[in-house]
């Protein structure tokens, strides 16, 4: 590779990452702004964080969001794993095409349509909009993402592991819990994390399917943003970004360590 090319590469990476991160960095910086005007720097202050923690509305919304996220991600992970197993293991059953269509369609469905259709369902059966309906809606769309993540792991899963377990005397159910599940567990965990993030992040579907008393954080932020940009929202966003950044970085450091250990083990194995 000659140097002009690599200079070009470095430039595009630097500019690209600046583009990706500058808005977030600015948002974080201005959460510490003394002035109420978000865009004019008037000195360092943490007063917006203080006022944030006395904002009951935001804190309630955060609680609702976390509860919806935990419940919906967990149920969606179970259903999505079932769906993935169905898609990879049962190649022939009546209605398979319909089933796989229903699993993949929500991935490309505009959120407004998913939200609208679920709302109309809840109205039709007379279910009051609120915590339950948002949770049901979130389960429905995030289970499909879980299904895709788990399915891609199952496709590379070596079926002879299951055959070996059965060959050694483990009945199918035992085989599933002792072999299949532990092996695909990392994919199931990332499926859960994806479902949880999608639930935390969702504004559109929640707006359709939620009702009084079940306002989620994105809905709250959205309504405040529409009224105007305030440093308080910046502070709330900064906290969310902080949590996510710490979580993701920690996870990747742990992963990296494990990977390094694994490589070392493999090299050691080759030597003896």
């Amino acid at each position: 590779m000659n140097s002009t090319w690599s200079r070009f590469n470095i430039t595009s990476i630097v500019l690209g990452f600046a583009f990706l991160y500058l808005p977030i960095v600015l948002l974080v910086i201005f959460s510490f702004n003394e002035s109420k005007l978000v865009t004019v720097w008037a000195g360092f202050s943490t007063k917006w964080y203080v006022s944030l923690f006395s904002n009951r509305g935001l804190i309630d919304a955060a609680w609702v969001t976390i509860r919806v996220g935990l419940i919906s991600a967990t149920v969606a992970t179970v259903l999505g794993t079932f769906a993935a197993l169905t898609l990879t293991r049962y190649t022939r059953f009546r209605g398979r095409v319909l089933f796989s269509g229903m699993v993949f369609a929500p991935l490309v469905m505009p959120e407004v349509i998913t939200g609208l259709s679920l709302l109309l369902l809840f109205v039709a059966v007379g279910l009051d909009r609120g915590f339950v309906t948002v949770t049901l809606a979130h389960i429905t769309f995030s289970m499909c993402f879980v299904a895709v993540v788990v399915q891609s792991r199952l496709l590379t899963f070596d079926r002879s592991l299951e055959e070996a377990a059965m060959d050694l005397g483990a009945p199918p159910v035992k085989t599933f819990f002792q072999i299949t599940l532990p092996v695909i567990l990392p994919a199931i965990i990332s499926g859960w994390m994806l479902a949880f993030t999608l639930s935390l992040d969702d504004l559109v579907i929640a707006s359709f399917t939620s009702g009084p008393g079940a306002t989620t954080l994105p809905m709250k932020i959205y309504s405040q943003v529409r009224l105007g940009v305030t440093p308080e929202i910046n502070a709330a966003c900064t906290i969310l970004i902080g949590i996510v950044a710490v979580g993701v970085i920690a996870a990747s450091v742990v992963n990296k360590r494990r990977e390094v250990q694994r490589l070392r083990d493999e090299q050691a194995a080759l030597r003896n």
């Binding site: 592991l161 050694l168 080759l270």
Partner: protein, 380 residues
């Protein structure tokens, strides 16, 4: 290895009409959609036998193994183990264990836990499991690796764990699917003998699937050669090599020269054959040949003699040609002799001394000759 050889020689239940087969495939057919993997196949294996299924990929050998293990059910026919029909018995209830080609070691379990897995399924008491696992680890010389995970082992070590795991339950029959396929050549040769010792010591019946003829010849008591879902021949390694039953088997196992021709005369079990190229061949063992019918005379390269002068005897089993190619392999030299009709005959000669007294070179005139009992007459 000498003592092993002598035990082996006396072990031949297949030639004893009173011996009861241990495993029998009776007219077994297996179809996957339109594809017939196994076609109306019958086969018997005896207790404590080391049996090899040899064939190219797609010949149905793995399907046979999987049907015996219980992963696939025959489309037609039945499989008996010790007199019991196996149909409908799920894999986890069969007294048969399998060593997988990919080893299929459970990646989330230690070596120890992998070996103990099958014993736990039986509900064996903990203390006994520990003893058995220790015994198995000793058997495969992996005592110090008990706490390792599969990814911390080398290929050869993984293979031994897979082996220990599959024999830990003392199955009636051990199935081995290409057990040495993933090992490099040197390790493979060592492991072949280890497997044979293990089979002798444990007194188990082994059925091994392989595409490597050397491996099958080294290890097995008998070999079944399969092609397109059918058995071509079942015999001991020596029989397969020296007395192949068909052109396919002769060509599949080892190197061979094939002379197509017609039987001109049959007398006293010997056949006179005139090859398509006009060569006169005399074979002591006519086999199933009948006069006037097309046959093939198959002869191994090492049984053909090459010399620069015409052998003194008659014109029978002698042909003149030209040295077309020479491959010096160290222990032996293979000559490719082009006969008058263009057929190239391979003849190998052992380099017993460092200097050859009859040096042959490229494009030299040369004579090939062989004795009347050196080849076989094939009708199929």
């Amino acid at each position: 290895m000498k003592s092993l050889g002598s035990i082996r020689r006396s072990f031949a239940p297949w030639s004893d009409p009173a011996a009861k087969p241990y495993i029998s495939f009776e007219n077994v057919t297996k179809r996957f959609g339109d594809f017939t993997a196994v076609n109306n196949l019958s086969l018997t294996v005896y207790e404590r036998e080391f049996f090899a299924l040899l064939g190219a990929s797609g010949c149905g050998k793995s399907t046979l193994l999987r049907m015996l293990a219980g992963f696939d059910d025959p489309t037609a026919g039945r499989i008996l183990l010790d007199g019991q029909d196996l149909r409908g018995i799920p894999p986890y209830r069969r007294p048969v264990n399998m060593m997988f080609q990919s080893y299929a070691l459970f990646p989330h379990m230690t070596v120890e836990a992998n070996i103990a897995f099958g014993l736990k399924q039986e509900g064996m008491p903990k203390g006994e499991i520990a003893t058995r696992v220790a015994e198995m680890l000793r058997l495969v010389k992996l005592e110090q690796f008990a706490k390792r995970k599969p990814h911390q082992l080398s290929g050869g070590q993984r293979q031994r764990v897979a082996l220990a795991r599959s024999v830990a339950k003392r199955p009636k029959v051990l199935l081995l699917d290409e057990p040495l396929g993933a090992l490099d050549k040197k390790l493979r040769e060592e492991t072949q003998f280890e497997l044979m010792d293990l089979q002798q010591n444990l007194g188990l019946t082994f059925i091994v699937v392989t595409h490597d003829q050397e491996e099958a010849m080294t290890m097995a008591d008998r070999i079944a050669i399969l092609d397109k879902g059918e058995v071509m021949q079942v015999a001991t390694p020596a029989e397969v090599y020296e007395a192949p039953s068909s052109r396919f088997v002769a060509g599949f196992v080892g190197n061979v020269n094939m002379f197509e021709g017609t039987v001109t005369d049959l007398s006293g079990g010997a056949a006179s054959i005139r090859s398509a190229a006009g060569l006169d061949i005399m074979a002591h063992n006519a086999g199933a040949a009948s006069a006037g019918n097309p046959v093939a005379f198959a002869i191994r390269p090492e049984k053909i003699k090459v010399s620069s002068r015409k052998p003194a005897a008659s014109d029978i089993n002698v042909a003149e040609g030209e040295i077309y190619d020479i491959a010096y392999l160290g222990d032996m030299t293979v000559y490719h002799v082009k006969l008058a009709d263009g057929q190239v005959v391979k003849a190998s000669s052992l380099n017993a001394s460092r200097v050859t007294e009859d040096p042959l070179s490229w494009n030299d005139r040369a004579w090939i000759s062989f004795s009347p009992d050196a080849g076989v007459v094939l009708t199929r």
